[in-house]
C-alpha cells in the first residue's frame, strides 16, 4: 500500500498509537501521508500557518468553495485567509469528516467511563479536545485556536432533513490519505475516537505518519484545476510566498 518513491523519497516516518496526540511542522513542498494501520482510525487535525499562527484551517471556506460537505481528492484545505494550506492528492478511503468536531472529557466519560493515569498508565482515556490543547500550547496557541477540525478516516452523513449519522467501517486497514502541503504549517492532531463513533468500547486505533518530498505542482494539477476557486486560492498562496502567482 505504500509507495516510498512516489514523491521523490521518504523523509521520515513514525507510528502513533490510538488515543495519542502529536504536533509538528510540515513544510511546504512535502507530502504528509496518514495511514490507518488497522482500520476505523480517526485523526482529528488542526492546521495553523507556521509564520502567521492565527491563520488557520477554515471548515466553512473549504466546504463553500468546493461545494462539498466532506473531504477527499482533489479537494484542497483552505485557510481563513483565502489560501491553500494543503491539497488532498491521493485518498484510498474516499470520505473524511470535517463537521463532526472533537470529542471532549464529558463525551468520553459518558460513553466509555473513566480510566485515569494512576489506574491505567498510558492506556488512560484521552479525548480530542484535551489532546489538542496539549499540542497547541507548545506553539503559543490555545483554546481560541480550537476551530472546527478535520476528522480523517471518519464519515458523517447528513440526511435531507439535516440529521447526522456516523457511518461505521468507513476506513479499512491500510487506507491512506496524502496531503501535499502548500504552506509551512503547524499540524496538530489527536488519534482519539470520533465524538460520534458508535463503538461502545474505548478503542482508538493506531496510525502511521510518513513525510515525503513532493513533486512540483504543475499547471495541470488536479487539485489546482478542480474548481476556479481552487485556482484563485492557489494564486493567493503563491503571492504570500512572493512567487509569480501564475507559475
Amino acid at each position: 500500500m505504500t509507495h516510498p518513491n512516489k514523491y521523490n523519497g521518504l523523509i521520515w516516518q513514525e507510528s502513533l498509537p490510538g488515543g495519542a496526540h502529536w504536533s509538528g511542522v510540515i513544510r511546504r513542498g512535502t507530502v504528509l501521508r496518514l495511514t490507518d494501520l488497522q482500520g476505523n482510525a480517526n485523526v482529528a487535525m488542526l492546521i495553523n500557518n507556521l509564520e502567521v499562527k492565527n491563520e488557520r484551517y477554515n471548515m466553512p471556506d473549504t466546504l463553500k468553495a468546493q461545494k462539498t460537505a466532506f473531504l477527499t481528492t482533489p479537494n484542497m484545505c483552505f485557510s481563513d485567509m483565502g489560501r491553500v494550506m494543503c491539497s488532498i492528492i491521493a485518498d484510498s478511503c474516499g470520505w473524511h469528516d470535517t463537521i463532526g468536531g472533537l470529542s471532549n472529557a464529558t463525551i468520553v466519560q459518558k460513553k466509555y467511563g473513566q480510566k485515569s493515569y494512576q489506574e491505567a498508565h498510558n492506556d488512560y482515556f484521552k479525548n480530542g479536545y484535551d489532546s489538542l490543547i496539549n499540542e497547541l500550547g507548545k506553539w503559543g496557541l490555545n483554546a481560541s485556536d480550537i476551530m472546527p477540525n478535520i476528522n480523517w478516516f471518519s464519515k458523517v452523513r447528513v440526511e435531507d432533513n439535516g440529521s447526522m449519522t456516523f457511518v461505521t467501517n468507513n476506513s479499512k486497514a491500510g487506507d491512506h490519505v496524502d496531503l501535499r502541503f502548500e504552506m509551512d504549517c503547524i499540524v496538530s492532531l489527536s488519534t482519539a475516537q470520533h465524538p460520534m463513533d458508535t463503538n461502545p468500547e474505548y478503542n482508538p486505533q493506531p496510525i502511521e505518519l510518513s513525510v515525503y518530498k513532493s513533486l512540483p505542482v504543475t499547471h495541470d494539477d488536479p487539485c489546482r484545476l478542480h474548481r476556479a476557486e481552487n485556482q484563485r486560492a492557489y494564486y493567493n498562496t503563491k503571492v504570500f510566498y512572493g512567487e509569480n502567482p501564475n507559475d
Binding site: 471548515m59 466553512p60 483552505f78 481563513d80 485567509m81 483554546a143 452523513r157 439535516g162 460520534m196 493567493n236
Partner: protein, 224 residues
C-alpha cells in the same frame, strides 16, 4: 421551555441594524432576543460569547453534534466550546438556519468570486469593526459591561450562525447555497442561559444570489 408571549411592554432594547453594519450587544441570562428579517432573505452572521469570560464562545460543531442535526430551529440549544448551553431557540418563523457556512471575508471573497472582489465589504470586516470599538474594563464604557481586560480578537472568531440562511447538504455530501426560505417579517428568537455578548454582521454580501444581491436591514429586540 414553553413559548413566551412577546410583550412589547417588556422590551428593554430595540434597534434596526442597516445592511452591512456590525452590531454588538449584551443579552442577560433569562432575557429573550429576537432577530427580525425585515425585508426577507437577509443573512445575519452571529457569534456569541460568555459575557463574563470571552474565552467561552459559541461552537458550531458542538451544537450540531449534540442535537444530531446540522440545521438550527426551535428547540436548538446553542452550545459553547465548553459544551454549556448559551441560548435556546424558542421560536422560529423561518424554519431553518445555517451554522456550517461561516462568514464572508475579503480573502474568501477573492477565492469564491474573483481576486478583484477583495475590496468589497465583508462580514469579517464588520466583526473586526465591532471588536475594534470594544472597550475593556479599564475604559469608561462599551457595548459589553463585563469585567475584561483582554479584548476579543480575530483569534476568537470561530464558525458562526447564519440566521435566515439556507445551506442544504445532501446525503451524498454535496453542499450548496440555495435561495433563502425566509421572507419579510420572519423572525427567530432565543432565550439566554447565561449573560452573552452577541456579535453580529448584518451581511453585506453582494455576490451571492441567496439574498437577491440586495442586503437589507434587520431588527434586534431584547426583552425581559
Amino acid at each position: 421551555m414553553t413559548k413566551p408571549q412577546f410583550d412589547e411592554s417588556k422590551i428593554v432594547y430595540r434597534e434596526v441594524v442597516a445592511a452591512g453594519d456590525p452590531w454588538m450587544h449584551e443579552v442577560k441570562a433569562g432575557q429573550k432576543f429576537r432577530i427580525v428579517d425585515l425585508e426577507g432573505n437577509q443573512a445575519v452572521d452571529t457569534l456569541f460569547y460568555n459575557a463574563n469570560d470571552h474565552s467561552e464562545r459559541y461552537s458550531a460543531t458542538d451544537t450540531i453534534r449534540e442535537q444530531g442535526n446540522i440545521y438550527l430551529t426551535t428547540g436548538s440549544v446553542l452550545q459553547s466550546n465548553l459544551c454549556n448551553p448559551m441560548l435556546t431557540i424558542i421560536d422560529d418563523t423561518c424554519g431553518r438556519h445555517d451554522t456550517i457556512g461561516g462568514a464572508c471575508s475579503a480573502e474568501s471573497n477573492t477565492v469564491r468570486y474573483a481576486i478583484e472582489k477583495r475590496h468589497m465589504h465583508s462580514c469579517r470586516d464588520s466583526f473586526l469593526m465591532a471588536l475594534g470599538s470594544m472597550k475593556t474594563s479599564s475604559s469608561e464604557s462599551g457595548a459589553c459591561s463585563c469585567n475584561h481586560d483582554k479584548p476579543i480578537t480575530k483569534d476568537d472568531l470561530s464558525s458562526n450562525i447564519n440566521f435566515f440562511m439556507n445551506v442544504p447538504v445532501s446525503p451524498d455530501g454535496h453542499l450548496d447555497f440555495d435561495d433563502g426560505i425566509s421572507a419579510p417579517g420572519r423572525y427567530v428568537e432565543m432565550q439566554a442561559h447565561m449573560d452573552v455578548l452577541v456579535l453580529v454582521s448584518n451581511c453585506p454580501q453582494l455576490n451571492n444570489p441567496c439574498n437577491g444581491y440586495n442586503p437589507t436591514p434587520v431588527e434586534m429586540i431584547i426583552w425581559e
